[in-house]
């Protein structure tokens, strides 16, 4: 049977990690168990009792003690309630759900990772995995609204010097910082990789992802070598509630990671109308 009642976890630690974003460490209560086998890019459903349940990514999979790392941005009622809670507060966790990044396919390849805003979180443990490979080059482009809104400071600090990490800002603070979306540093990233990327993993606002994907396609990367991670409203996480549909696909089961060609085929069933552009907010 599917797990519809969450396991109880408590907040062990929490710290601010970017504007309106917090990093949470969650641990199962004694007597409670949570799944330990989690692939980078999968997600869990987090219950904030009284406020409801929503989907969040594992910034890091459960460690040996079962501690889970999560990066949460405050955007609505549930996350606002979560931000009021202190360490020790009890939450509910179900998961893992969905399909993660295709890391087994990328073993020795030149991989370009492109993240926008808190879209870095679903890529975080994939970057750790790719950086630890014995072979294959890695470069990361990370775009944010401004330096204050950059997330995962500890993780980025850990990555520093291990592989090229190129940052961009919609609104830089000083002239040394590069203004623009990650696309403005695409050619530089390709050079840093030592050649055109053989695969790209992209996560950010949907509009940003489609534009980045188009820029990668312009540089010769096939649609079968680009992967995106989508965000959708979800009320179950395992293919029953119906909310996260993408054509005939459910993002919670078939995604959240899609290969670009799959995503385009599914989206073709109900192409975005011009009005959608109005409703897109940058993460």
């Amino acid at each position: 049977m599917k797990q519809t009642t969450p396991s109880a976890v408590r907040i062990v630690a929490a710290y601010d990690d970017g504007q309106d974003a917090r990093h949470f460490e969650l641990a199962p209560l004694s007597g409670e168990s949570i799944a330990s086998a989690v692939e980078p890019g999968q997600f869990f459903m987090l219950s904030v009792p009284g406020a409801g349940e929503a989907a969040f990514t594992y910034a890091a999979p459960p460690d040996a003690r079962g501690h889970v790392q999560a990066l949460v941005r405050r955007v609505g009622a549930l996350t606002s309630r979560l931000f009021e809670l202190e360490p020790g507060a009890v939450l509910g966790l179900r998961g893992p759900f969905g399909r993660g990044w295709p890391l087994a396919e990328l073993r020795a390849q030149r991989v370009l990772v492109i993240a926008g805003g808190c879209g870095l979180a679903p890529l975080c443990s994939a970057v750790d995995h790719l950086a630890a490979r014995g072979a294959g080059a890695l470069a990361v482009i990370y775009g944010a609204r401004n330096p204050d809104s950059q997330v995962l400071g500890v993780e980025r600090g850990r990555w520093s010097g291990r592989f090229p990490l190129l940052e961009t800002y919609d609104h830089p603070d000083d002239p040394d910082q590069i203004r623009g979306t990650p696309i403005v540093r695409l050619d530089e990233a390709c050079q840093a990789l030592g050649g055109a990327p053989e695969a790209a993993l992209v996560c950010g606002p949907e509009l940003m992802m489609t534009r980045v994907a188009a820029a990668l396609r312009d540089r010769g990367l096939g649609a079968g070598r680009i992967w995106l991670s989508l965000e959708r409203r979800m009320h179950c996480g395992d293919g029953r509630c119906g909310h996260c549909y993408l054509g005939p696909s459910y993002v919670c089961q078939d995604g959240p990671t899609y290969r670009l060609d799959e995503f385009q085929r599914l989206q073709a069933e109900s192409p975005p109308r011009a009005t959608e552009l109005v409703s897109v907010h940058h993460c």
Binding site: K2, P6, P49, E206, R240, C244, S270, R273, T275, S279
Partner: protein, 336 residues
């Protein structure tokens, strides 16, 4: 189905089944007709009426609102669905086809499975087609499909009802009932009856033509938006649809904690896909309407579930105050 018997009447079967379980059957409830607990003086002849009940028996298997768990301040404690034996009596072929789909869709959903395991399904073949029904076009009726019911009753004017055993569970449920073996021509009689029922359904060319246009990608965004302008987002269609499964969840405060409830949701509601960030993958009523019809009829969904998720009951046609039911919409699509 090999074992066939003759019944003295529908009551004979219902009364026997009522000894072991609650029996829910189509009933006249004042001015309405609905599935309800069968009363002692309840008239089962309603099962033979050639018109669809406005609501399917779906809520008895997938509750409109139910508790999933309670958070007591420290732990999450599951609140299981009721599992007392229940007989769903007088289900039409289309509704049974819908339940077979629900069984597949909600496989692994503990609340659905608990209710479903407790339910014995008794189907009744339709003697005639109903006003909006097109079950024949959707391979869902008017005869009860093999394997979709535990017991199947076939009625005909001026003849005793025939009882076909549809499953081992159905056989066990009538084990204590003194049944007369059916006449030798019972299966043939049923086949003739179903042929006549199918013939009474009439041609509905806009169904196949509309689905073909949908599959060919010939329905423009402009047409969907034009139709969408009329949608009131009242959720009438998704409420009466026997295969609509979407739900949402909400927490209600309780003691020191909270109770998680789930209840039916509708993909036609504006906020169905709206995210906390403001991102909205289906921001227009036309997109949401298109989604509804593609999900019921489209080729990718047929490939995913092995059949269309529409069973041709036609309830949405009566329910929609904006004339966007399946006949109206497919008719418009076919004519464009």
């Amino acid at each position: 189905m090999s074992d066939v018997y003759e019944l003295t009447g529908l009551r004979q079967l219902a009364d026997h089944l009522a000894r072991e379980a609650r029996v829910v059957a189509p009933q006249h409830d004042g001015e309405h007709r609905c599935f309800a607990l069968l009363s002692e003086d309840g008239d089962l002849e309603i099962c033979r009426e050639p018109s669809q009940l406005p609501l399917a028996a779906k809520p008895f298997l997938f509750a409109e609102r139910e508790s999933l768990f309670v958070f007591d301040g420290a732990r999450f404690v599951e609140t299981p669905a009721p599992s007392e034996p229940l007989v769903l009596f007088g289900l039409t072929a289309c509704d049974l086809t819908a339940i077979a789909y629900l069984d597949r869709f909600f496989e692994g959903d503990p609340h659905y499975v608990a209710r479903r395991r407790a339910a014995l399904l008794v189907g009744v073949d339709c003697e005639r087609g109903c006003r909006d029904g097109f079950c024949d076009a959707m391979d869902a009726g008017p005869g009860v499909r093999d394997g979709s019911a535990d017991l199947v009753v076939h009625t005909a004017p001026d003849a005793s009802p025939l009882l076909f055993i549809g499953s081992e569970r159905g056989a066990a449920a009538v084990a204590g009932l003194a049944l007369e073996p059916a006449p030798a021509d019972a299966t043939e009689r049923r086949a003739r009856g179903l042929e006549a029922a199918e013939a009474s359904l009439g041609a509905r060319p806009h169904i196949a033509a509309g689905i073909a246009r949908l599959d060919a990608g010939e329905v423009s965004a402009e047409l969907w938006e034009e139709l969408g302008l009329r949608c009131l987002a009242c959720s009438g269609c998704t409420t009466v649809c026997p295969t609509c499964t979407c739900f949402t969840t909400t927490d209600e405060p309780e003691g020191d904690g909270a109770r998680r409830l789930r209840y039916w949701d509708s993909c036609l509601f504006e906020g169905f896909q709206r995210e906390a960030s403001g991102h909205h993958p289906a921001p227009t009523a036309g997109m949401r309407l298109e989604r509804f019809f593609r999900h019921k009829l489209g080729e990718p969904v047929r490939a995913r579930f092995g059949r269309a998720t529409c069973v041709g009951c036609g309830r949405c046609e009566s329910a929609c105050p904006a004339v966007l039911g399946i006949h109206s919409t497919l008719g418009r699509i076919a004519a464009t």
